[in-house]
Assembly symmetry: C2
Homo-oligomer: 157 residues x 2
């Protein structure tokens, strides 16, 4: 299976992975949420090759996750900003952070803390049920076929 085929699958994980499913895209997005916007700054912070950076930025723009906006005419220069669609990836990044903090942190503790402006406290991001607000874990979920399920079933989720 090739990259391009992924987004055609009847699986939301596969479709999302077709956009952000490589290490560089995820790290670029991490930096976007830290307000990094410019080519040179991504390149310096990430240690990614310019070639690959240009490619990933182009793909993220095509996917509608980032927008390429001119921040200066003459000489014409562009920067990359999260769109609403991109901002919506925040839970994905938070989930990655949470797992890294819990399972891969050094002895010194988590490198970043997150404060919830609404309540003013440093918090852990927790997955909750939109209906009852209770915590959701792997063991208290049941997975059902939805309306967009594959006809005969095969690849899914």
């Amino acid at each position: 299976m090739r990259w391009a085929e992924l987004e055609r699958e009847a699986c939301s994980v596969a479709r999302t992975v077709s956009v952000v499913g490589d290490r560089w895209s995820l790290l670029i997005l991490r930096d976007c949420f830290l307000r990094v916007r410019r080519f040179e700054e991504f390149q310096a912070r990430l240690g990614i090759t310019r070639h690959v950076l240009a490619d990933r930025l182009r793909k993220l723009v095509e996917a509608g996750v980032l927008a390429r906006v001119a921040y200066r005419q003459r000489p014409l220069r562009y920067e990359y900003r999260l769109t609403e669609k991109g901002l919506d990836l925040n839970p994905v990044l938070l989930a990655l952070v949470r797992w890294g903090d819990a399972h891969m942190a050094g002895e010194r503790g988590p490198p970043k803390l997150y404060e919830h402006r609404a309540c003013g406290h440093v918090f852990d991001p927790v997955m909750c049920c939109s209906v009852c607000g209770g915590a959701v874990t792997a063991r208290n979920i049941r997975i059902l076929d939805g309306p967009g399920a594959a006809p005969a079933a095969a690849n899914d989720a």
Copy 2:
């Protein structure tokens, strides 16, 4: 930067990405949560080459996300099961699903639905604050340096 250097960064996203930051690992994990356990079944469902599948399973086992357990002696056969550490990746997968459902779903709707056993309802997974329980979005978070932050600061998150 090479793969191996990622996990040494003072960034929980980078460390997590060093484990699950490629498309196949994420799709394998998706299937794990759907109770797929065997080599042949992964291979058939994913369309991944056997070569790469063997490599990814090995790496996920090394990372402690999956466990390789014999399910039959003579002939000796192994299957792959999520460990506690692996089950803890559930929020990552849910966040990916949620974004795919919201931004990449076909017109027929989401391919899968998730029922919260605790309340019995089909729900959307929402990121919440562990302190106040309120919803967390990109715009109501403030990011602070934590105890494990890089000394002089450079790559972070």
